[in-house]
Structures are given as structure tokens and as C-alpha cells.
Amino acid sequence: MIGRYRRILIALDASEEGDQVLEAATALDPRGADSYYVTTVVPPMMGGISGMDGASFAATWPLKDMEAEISREITDSVRERVARFGISPDRVTVLFGRPATEIHAHAEAIEADLIVIGSHGRHGLPQVMLGSTANAVLHGAPCDVLTVRIRG
């Protein structure tokens, strides 16, 4: 892909499967790590607690502190992971929000020309064959997208 993709954004989740995505992404460009950016998006905690009044909940819980702590932990683990693929730690960005939205926004911010994202394989039902995040990223992506099938 020499000359074609200059800024490749790898969207990772915090799971072990990220290695498969990193492997596929880094095989794309023999010029080395310089083309790569990595982002991991953490969905907001409120999203997981539907029906609860967010404001009162936030007031009783040091949510921001927790998010900062989670962000630190995730950033450290993602940095460690990408280092094994020769990608510099300062290329890692951890964001909070709806994954597809944040990935699109980050791709635009860094002017990525390719997004690489993992997707779970077949689950037997047509509508869930593509991971929901991968699907959302594909629709409305500002650039080309490489979907990597996660095995096993």
C-alpha cells in the first residue's frame, strides 16, 4: 500500500483479539510504524445503566475520577500491546463515547485514509454476522475501511 495509505487508524477494543487486528494492519505497510495511529473507545458508563437518572447517579458517584482511572489503565494496556508491533505509545488515543462516532471523529481529526477494525465472524444469524461496532464504523466512515475477521 505504499503511496496509497499514509495514515492508518487502527480501532482496537481492549480484548486479546486486538492482536489479530494489529497483525493485519501492520502487515499492510512495510514502511513501518510511522503510518499507524491507534484508538480505543470506551463506551460511557451511563450507557450501561439505562433507565437510571444519570444526573443523580453521577452526583453520588465520582464518575469522572473513575473514567480517568479507566482511561489510564486502558491507555497503558493498549500502549503495551501496540509496542509489540512497533507502534509508538504516543500514537495511542483513548476516547470515551459511542465507538463509531468517536472513531469517525478521530479518523477525521488525524486525516486518516484507512480505518482498520476487527469484526467477529459468523454467529449463525445474518444480522449479527458483522460486529455492531464494525458495522456502525463502516456506515459513514470518512475513508476506506479494512474489516478484519476475528478468528476463534
Partner: protein, 147 residues
């Protein structure tokens, strides 16, 4: 992980050039084999609802002709990218099914496909690209068709 066999799925429009150019680059990077597939929709799909039985012979001829034309047109574009005619596959049927079948038959580990990006209108990913993405058992590189 390097790709070994890349399948570029194209239609017979000018956009095929964009898809083929990228597929060629990736294939070169990975020292992979590059194959091309194009799908001709059967006449019964084009004229849905029409009773085609009485037209069977015409339909078959039409499809054979369309297939031959597609082979020539796609073959010419593929040849520009160094893909020989043996690696150009033309099939008749539903595009998604045919692309997936061809990929599986060839043992392709990456499908490269174009998709229209129509921001703001709501149709964000081409239906063929979308179908392929959902059904492919291998990696898929989706190329945003510009303009």
C-alpha cells in the same frame, strides 16, 4: 499475516478502476495472487415480476451475451493491472452470493470492494458492499468511491 489471494469485486463502471488499483497495490505489497470477479444480474432480476418463462431462450442468450461483454470489459481493465483473463471471473446471479461463492471457491483471504459514500442522504454503504461484509468469511477492504 500476509494475504495470499486477493479478490477484487468490481462492476463494469469506471469505479472498477479505483478498486482494481488499490487491490493491485495490496496484492503487490503482500506478493499475493489477484483475482477479479464481476457479477451480471440475470434478466429476471432486472425485470422483477415479469413472467420470464416464455422469454427463457432470449433470457439465456441475453445473459450469455452480457456475460461475454462483462468478461471483455472487466478483462480489459484487469489486464491493465496485470491480471490475466484466467483470473477474471464472471458469474450470473445475485451479486453478494456470487462474490461470496467466488471468494470461497478461490480460497481468497481478502475481498476488495467499492462502496458509494453518500453522506447526508442516508445511504451510506452500497448494498452489495454491505451484503458482502456481512457474509464474508474473510477480511474485507471497503473502498470509498469518490465523487
Amino acid at each position: 499475516m500476509k494475504y495470499k489471494h486477493i479478490l477484487a469485486a468490481v462492476d463494469v463502471t469506471e469505479e472498477a478502476g479505483q478498486v482494481l488499483a488499490i487491490a493491485r497495490q495490496v496484492a503487490d505489497e503482500h506478493k499475493a495472487k489477484l483475482s477479479v470477479v464481476t457479477v451480471v444480474k440475470p434478466l429476471t432480476h432486472v425485470y422483477g415480476g415479469l413472467d420470464m418463462v416464455s422469454y427463457t431462450q432470449i433470457s439465456v442468450n441475453f445473459e450469455e451475451e452480457a456475460k461475454a461483454q462483462a468478461k471483455i470489459q472487466t478483462g480489459a481493465m484487469a489486464e491493465e493491472k496485470g491480471v490475466g483473463s484466467d483470473e477474471v471471473h464472471v458469474s450470473v446471479g445475485a451479486p453478494v452470493t456470487q462474490i461470496i461463492d467466488t471468494a470461497e471457491r478461490l480460497g481468497a483471504d481478502l475481498i476488495v470492494i467499492g462502496s458509494h459514500g453518500k453522506h447526508g442522504i442516508g445511504l451510506l454503504l452500497g448494498s452489495t458492499a454491505n451484503g458482502v461484509l456481512h457474509r464474508a468469511d474473510c477480511d474485507v477492504l471497503t473502498i470509498r468511491i469518490k465523487g
